[in-house]
């Protein structure tokens, strides 16, 4: 998908993402219990609930405004590691969304890399987001990108974490999917469902 998504489409996207997060809140927290501090589900749910409230109350006028509002709300409501990372993702997307969804997601991804300094294979959300960007940049569909994100999430299972709280587990972090990679897979699933 290289068309510029509409404000309505993007609103549907973040709304669907919020639903998926709510639905999988306990799963995300359970994953974070296994290798972190048991708050990723409540963090993302708190943030996305606030995003939906914000964009419903005062619907943004254009795609960039929608993404900016989403990013700013996440930054100001989530905290932890995921707040600045997801927040930066959406804020950077806002600056590039006129070029289309794929370039916007790539810009967001670069923001995440710059903010968090994680590398692929560190067992973070980067491992789901990166493959999805690659698929889109190569002209793949959103469904294919969502699949790549899901595969990237699954690929984090055997990895040993090197960034974020999970890194303190060392070898013991292997054997569990990364919570942030899992929520990112839902982000791409929501995109496939709403932006195609």
């Amino acid at each position: 998908m290289s068309d510029t998504p509409t404000t309505e489409q993007l609103t549907a996207w973040v709304t669907r993402f919020a639903e998926l997060v709510r639905e999988h809140r306990d799963e995300l927290t359970a994953l974070d219990s296994a290798i972190g501090d048991a708050d990723h589900g409540s963090n993302m749910d708190r943030g996305m609930t606030a995003v939906v409230a914000a964009v419903t109350e005062a619907p943004p006028a254009d795609p960039a405004a929608l993404l900016k509002k989403t990013g700013a709300t996440l930054v100001s409501k989530v905290g932890g590691a995921s707040g600045p990372l997801y927040g930066t993702l959406f804020l950077r997307m806002a600056g590039a969304v006129e070029e289309g969804f794929a370039p916007a997601l790539r810009a967001g991804f670069e923001g995440v890399l710059a903010r968090g300094k994680a590398e692929p294979g560190d067992k973070t959300m980067v491992d789901a987001l990166g493959p999805a960007c690659d698929v889109l940049d190569a002209g793949g569909s959103l469904a294919e990108a969502a699949q790549a994100a899901a595969d990237g999430r699954d690929a984090t299972v055997p990895l040993v974490a090197r960034k974020g709280r999970a890194s303190y587990l060392g070898e013991r972090s292997a054997g569990h999917a990364d919570p942030g990679a899992t929520s990112t897979a839902y982000l791409l699933q929501a995109a496939a469902e709403t932006l195609s």
């Binding site: 927290t29 219990s33 972190g36 501090d37 048991a38 708050d39 589900g41 409540s42 963090n43 708190r46 930054v75 100001s76 409501k77 989530v78 905290g79 932890g80 590691a81 995921s82 707040g83 600045p84 990372l85 903010r115 968090g116 040993v160 090197r162 960034k163 974020g164 709280r165 890194s167 303190y168 587990l169 060392g170 013991r172």
Partner: protein
């Protein structure tokens, strides 16, 4: 989950209401979840701001007051606060001499404080310097991790640096002192039980009846190893030895035995006795001590040991008056 709370979603807001009611000399900004000393900003004094996830009380809100912090931001339980809280705190304590951000080394805390500092830099002329505390010797391979976590040294640092700021030292000197303290402090913790994040409703991890976790972090991040429970004497050795192996301590340390929330004082004194005995054998005299639950992990049972190499200057600043809900003397 057995907790004295209302709705799990309201724990932090409710606890801040309690702090405001119990400590009229603090000013609590409930919207931004910032605890300020009542007379902030203090003109001409470097402002000290810290903050982090809730669940570690009295840290940090209980360390706000004359001689220690000027403001503390409270995040959700075990979740770093967000940048706008830190911006509000920074602006509220800026007395013209700049502001020091004291940040425990966790990815979330570091990134959120970083964004806050960027926002402050973009919006105002307030000078901000950040010091990151990373004293947890349980994290060995800092190269392959997010680095050592910030634990017990934070409490000692906030007290000592608070005294230096109260003396009117400039921002650069206060920040240097803070870095020196971080360099001279080491900690190691252990847990007998897990804790339950209110919003999660279940224990973060499972620690069977006969086992304990050595080297655990204050959010229940797993430690170096799980071992069968052992007498306090051996537990003390398991905590002190890695600290001594990591840093060459000499005579005259501040020795801090911290309770993680669910361990009562009688047990902390039993541990302190063993820690003191090990230090005595190692020829390391204790100049000052602190024993109690100052940096908790909700209701986790367990303790941590922190050693800070002191000198006359640090001891003088340690002894200086402090007037906060959590630490108070000379005032």
């Amino acid at each position: 989950m057995k907790k004295l709370i209302n709705d799990p979603a309201d724990v932090v807001a409710d606890a801040l209401r309690g702090m405001a009611a119990a400590h009229p000399r603090l000013r609590v900004d409930h919207e931004n979840r910032v605890v300020f000393r009542g007379d902030a900003p203090v003109q001409g004094k470097v402002g000290l701001v810290s903050g982090g996830g809730a669940g570690h009380e009295p840290m940090h809100g209980g360390f706000v007051g004359p001689g220690m912090l000027d403001a503390a931001c409270a995040g959700e339980v075990f979740t770093s606060p967000v940048p706008y809280q830190m911006v509000a705190a920074t602006q509220g304590v800026d007395g013209g001499a700049g502001v020091l951000h004291i940040v425990k080394n966790y990815t979330g805390d570091v990134m959120n404080f970083e964004m806050a500092a960027e926002l402050v830099a973009a919006e105002s002329g307030t000078e901000v310097v950040t010091v990151v505390v990373d004293d947890d010797v349980a994290v060995q391979d800092s190269l392959y991790t997010a680095g050592r976590r910030g634990v017990g040294t934070t409490v000692l640092l906030e007290k000592i640096v608070g005294a230096a700021a109260a003396e009117g030292r400039p921002l650069a000197a206060v920040a240097d002192l803070a870095r020196r303290i971080d360099d001279s402090g080491r900690s190691m913790g252990m847990a007998l039980t897990s804790c339950t994040v209110p919003a999660a409703g279940k224990p973060t991890f499972d620690l069977p009846e006969g086992e304990m976790e050595i080297g655990i972090g204050i959010h229940g991040e797993p430690g170096r190893r799980r071992v069968p429970i052992a007498p306090a004497r051996e537990v003390a050795a398991m905590l002190v030895e890695p600290i001594l192996a990591d840093h060459a301590f000499t005579d005259g340390v501040i020795c801090f035995v911290n309770g993680l929330g669910g361990t009562p004082l009688i047990e902390l004194y039993v541990v302190y006795a063993e820690v003191a005995a090990i230090l005595e054998e190692s020829g390391i005299g204790i100049a000052r001590s602190l024993v109690g639950p100052y940096m908790t992990s909700l209701e986790m049972a367990g303790c941590s040991v922190t050693l800070l190499q002191a000198d006359d200057e640090l001891l003088r600043l340690w002894d200086a008056p402090v007037d906060t809900p959590g630490l108070r003397w000379g005032a």
